[in-house]
Symmetry: D3
Subunit: 289 residues, 6 copies
């Protein structure tokens, strides 16, 4: 998140193109923008700005830009506030100039992506602010919008959070059902070891201190302290004593996150970051000549 706002190179470029092209396709159907095509001359040029109506943290400019660029390859899109940066209410986030048709037709697709992702970044930054002064990091979960996960995980990073595993494939999380099926943590880990490569971490979900005690007897990388009250969690952190990463999870809100962080946990995961964000309130304002 460098000082000068610049295109994020963190999002695999093909993902951006594919998602935005599909969304334009969704909005244009087979007949296209029948209002704009009938009224706006094909060579008319326009100028507009993405303006924040309320303050927030920016995320998703790559997707907004792609929406206009796909419709007009010669569009210029200038970032005023880059991804990961705060914008004040009324602030200009980006300027776009190109075919008027492209601006009118791409507007909603650009904002549908951008406002959602900026909403996630903004909410994440609030949680991050609420744990300031502790060592806790704020993480997202897999409760993301289907088929937008890469972008939502990115928005969490833009908001100052970190990512939990991306899917079922990149880390092991042993839950109660797994433990029950295996006949105990010992057996579950025993089954895992020969099949899991040396670059995959293993986290175990526990709900009680005695489960935690059991889990810590085995070579694992992290424990997920599920739905513990703050008192129990504090004891859990002490019991772990830095041997593995500790993660607090379960119904965390902006009201409760600060106290949870004070227990000394390393990570607090918050499903609401991605399943209940308020979209950023930004819009495309036309700049008349």
């Amino acid at each position: 998140m460098s000082e000068a706002p610049s295109p994020s190179l963190e999002l695999p470029p093909l993902l951006v193109e594919q998602a935005v092209a599909a969304a334009l396709d969704e909005d244009l159907g087979q007949a296209g923008d029948i209002t704009t095509d009938a009224i706006i001359p094909p060579d008319a040029i326009g100028k507009a700005e993405i303006v924040a109506r309320k303050e927030g943290v920016v995320a998703g400019l790559d997707l907004a830009e792609a929406a206009f660029r796909i419709l007009d390859p010669d569009v210029t899109f200038t970032r005023v506030v880059g991804d990961g940066k705060k914008v004040a209410a009324g602030g200009v986030i980006a300027k776009v100039e190109g075919l008027t048709r492209a601006l009118l037709t791409g507007e909603r697709t650009a904002l549908n992506f951008f406002n959602r992702l900026s909403g996630i970044a903004t909410l994440t930054s609030s949680f991050v602010a609420a744990v300031k002064g502790t060592k806790a990091r704020i993480a997202c979960t897999r409760k993301t919008t289907p088929n937008l996960r890469a972008f939502e995980k990115y928005a969490v990073r833009a908001g100052g959070g970190v990512n939990h595993r991306f899917g079922l494939y990149d880390a092991v999380l042993v839950k109660d059902n797994h433990i029950a099926a295996a006949g105990g943590i010992f057996h579950a880990l025993d089954m895992l070891r020969p099949r899991i490569g040396h670059l995959v971490k293993i986290e175990v979900e526990v709900e009680t201190l005695s489960q935690l005690e059991e889990a810590l007897r085995h070579p694992i990388d992290a424990v997920l302290l599920d739905n513990m009250d703050v008192g129990t969690m504090k004891k859990a952190v002490e019991m772990v004593n830095g041997r593995v990463v500790t993660e607090a999870s379960g119904g965390v809100t902006l009201e409760t996150v600060g106290e949870i962080a004070k227990t000394g946990v390393d990570v607090i995961s918050v499903g609401a970051l991605t399943h209940a964000p308020r979209s950023l309130d930004s819009s495309l304002e036309w700049v008349r000549a």
Copy 2:
């Protein structure tokens, strides 16, 4: 929305398959569910229920079912409360039985779709309830999640609302930028007429009564009354006097919608239905033998 809960036939079947398959792909990556595959035997059978933690209106069971069925073609998925129906807190929505691996692996994908769509249906039904006794219908907008629009529009219908246009292609909505570019409503409609087929409706956005007066001089089908205060809107409805459909739009909330409805407008469109719903709080609960 028949009495007996049944699969919705309103969602084009290929859309459901494609979206759910893509979401499973997103969660499984190339390595799959490495935790479950290592621990759960391939032929173990399990049983679980989708249970609502809070009350709400159900939408999206086709997608939840598809998530499990794609992973286990022989799964049985029984609907207890169908799409469009209310479920009470603690109520069982559906029962699913099949390979334990399929249930564990498909759970998050199923719920990510289902909870989001049910959240939209639930919010819609609140708006619908708030205008009960008036003739106003509640409609969604194009502020939907990219690439999920068909499902979110469907969820609005399940919640008792109606759909605004699906995209830029299926109805004309003339906005201020179009009118300015054309040099007035008269010219805009003049450009539209030769290009728009006889089964496409034309709606014009107006912000003032004088704009409305101008719009009504032309053969249009609907007017969008944008961001008018309730008093002005009442006058607008009187001025229209049933000649065209009237639609109220702009920052509508559950607090304001009732009063807006009393102005006599035909339709109230609410962007928040799809861009700011709370996900339904439901989860997959295991049924032990």
Copy 3:
């Protein structure tokens, strides 16, 4: 359809790219153009013109251009006669200059699209000419070539026609089977009303004047007068008396369309525009240095 021939911005750009890329793929397979690749040097440059052998109306230059551009991004493609314009027999429609390989390899794909679409535009313009002086507009139907509908509907517009609904999704057309299943028009419309948004038009198909009388008792937008003889149709138009749009349909030919138009119907839909056009007879002629 501006005076200066220019790229059509009415076709969603991604649709053009995808369809042309797929068609090139269909023609190139995995081995490519084995004749040209073996004989023509990779850097040879050529020049050719698309020339009409017979007169017609042009449509589909975007697709022709895409066929060459995908094979040679630096190709220049200059339109002499734009979409929607007449070309005389022997007239040059467009000039193309670029890698000789790209011209030879892309030729058939370009012409397969272009000649078919221009054939549709040409046939449409004949129907439009045949109803000149009446208020009737010529519309296409859903009898289009599978997976080319967006382009064929566009070609109808280029030929001076208008589009009927694009699919089953963007307008309601109540046919006899629907009426029978519902137990009458009244019930059918009763079922439709709560589910159809305010920007969707409703058309009812009728075959007799008594069916028409029944239909007109309900709030609908258009009637499709199916297979009526000219005398009956005239009475139907009088009975409607401008209250709803009237559409004539069923076996319309260039011979009969003029008389049908004189009945005063608003729209005449002609399936043959898209299912039985003659391709325009144009070819790629090489310009030797």
Copy 4:
């Protein structure tokens, strides 16, 4: 083309599924069949027949069946007249029974494929009949509908014709531009030989007898006699004297094909088979209980 009508196994099954699914998607969009979904109960069962209004040769039942089956996996589709067989005017081609919604919604997609392909088969069979008694075989060209080539080539076979090369990839056809670029047939073949595998045939296009003479000096497999008058073609066939395959091409019509065949050519290729067929006139007729 066995006696008992049966599914064609000649069409790669995935091609059929993909093309029909895409065409249904094109017709259903995101909202689906809004008329049928509102009026027809989800569990209503219907019965219908595909009936020919005029006589013709059947082709494309696999695609028609797929249209209904994708919408209702339990549909039964019974072939009365199989692909490649003649149907009389008024004859029943196939019977279909299943969800009424699936029948109504799939009807147009099924017929758009089926009528086009049967039209091609019918036209092909007329050409085949017109050369009866000669050794000439009727072949199609690459002037096919973009992205439907596999099906149209199949329809030509169903009509009794044979296929020319499928694309630029599966046979060499040396045209005048290639010869000019190479500096003569000798050089063109010299460039081809080291790059073309032993299972690829080489055909050379000639317009005059002297070009033919030159071509025959080289080891080639076939000559395309382009736009020769019947007298010249007869001499060409004599000059070839069975050493290579002879193909007549260029503006062949039903009126001229018989005489052309009598010149003794082996193959007559007819672009009109695929670029100018009349669709078969068949429709879906409901069978009331």
Copy 5:
């Protein structure tokens, strides 16, 4: 890898379907299996066995089965030797019965997948055998066949190996270029820490003992000992002393792997497993009635 051979549930099912369908498409093109379709009756039934000509370890039966099943949904495919098991020379691996056309047409696609994957499993098992008695595990690298990685990584597991990271996305591997660009390991790790989630492991590549010493001063999870001779590697393992995972890498062969394992490293990664396997020599043998 249970005793009774059974379908692997470890491969995400959609990956298998997509890859095999694409490969069939590659082999069938648009004309299909023209030899088989012309000669074999559509309803002929056949029986065949996949037989190993040389001994090996089996992997990829899911893909072989899919090749036949896609062509004939009613095929029966019986596994005699399951994935991960040894088959002796001459041994029957699986039996398949179904439409003769499906067997002939699907044969090559099935074997192209199966023999390649079984070759990888076989080679992996040789490496695993060569390190028996040590604690070293054999891992693959990212040197896989493009677009087949999921299957090749699976084959490595079937052969008794473990997987290194699947891609650039699921673990951090800091190489010399990264360290140089960052200005030292310290800075590289400093940049990584705020951006990497708590479930992602960090491995650092070192070539010398002094680089190793430097790396071990930081909180990392693993070190990749790149191209070290056996003596140096032994010292490296001692220096690490169990604090992080040690991985040997670089030009490992069946001849050298045993000695490398004796240095005490935890993991030995072998690029040759996936970029230079010998395909298993198996074929489809017909069982005559």
Copy 6:
């Protein structure tokens, strides 16, 4: 294969783009190159060379270039040794300059394609060298890597070989199973003739001289002499006496190919070219400023 190394225009351009984009997607997943993105500044520029560690024949530069270009559209990629040319050990094959991130992230994908294809070209050129002085040409088979066939067939051509049929669709190969099912070669060819176009070659597989004698009685284009010993093959070639193309097949190795060639066969097909090549040993070496 012109003197100056240049982009191959023989590979259909869309195939290259699609395969490389899919492979990048496979390596980047949803999180991208997490190591590089965290450490390397987005605007850093780097320079590197693809260097051969061992000598070989180059093939696949289009794919290597695409890997870098997709990640950085402004990359410059300069070919030093073109496809089809020999590179000595230590030789520079291509130079690439662009965003350091693009170079680091694209490296493995570029090399995974390039080394595999160059390995095939290299092996092919060894076989070609081994038959020098005879008229035999070296051909590949359908034993290719699934979904890479177009590229592998191309690499065979780059190595001086020719291609056998690309798939089941572009030539007829009658095998023993076909002959058995048809009841003899005569019947098999009888069934083929009416269905096979005039530009499709027919090859018949024979294992004995008496089968060959039988085959030669029919109008075919080529015979595949399957697994014959050299003595028998010599007699077969004499028996054929130039009437049809002769192809030797079955377990051909570098050791045996020379003697086989001396029998006078026209083509020798070698499955090992594509199913058992050694990848070229090349790597990306950084050029420090």
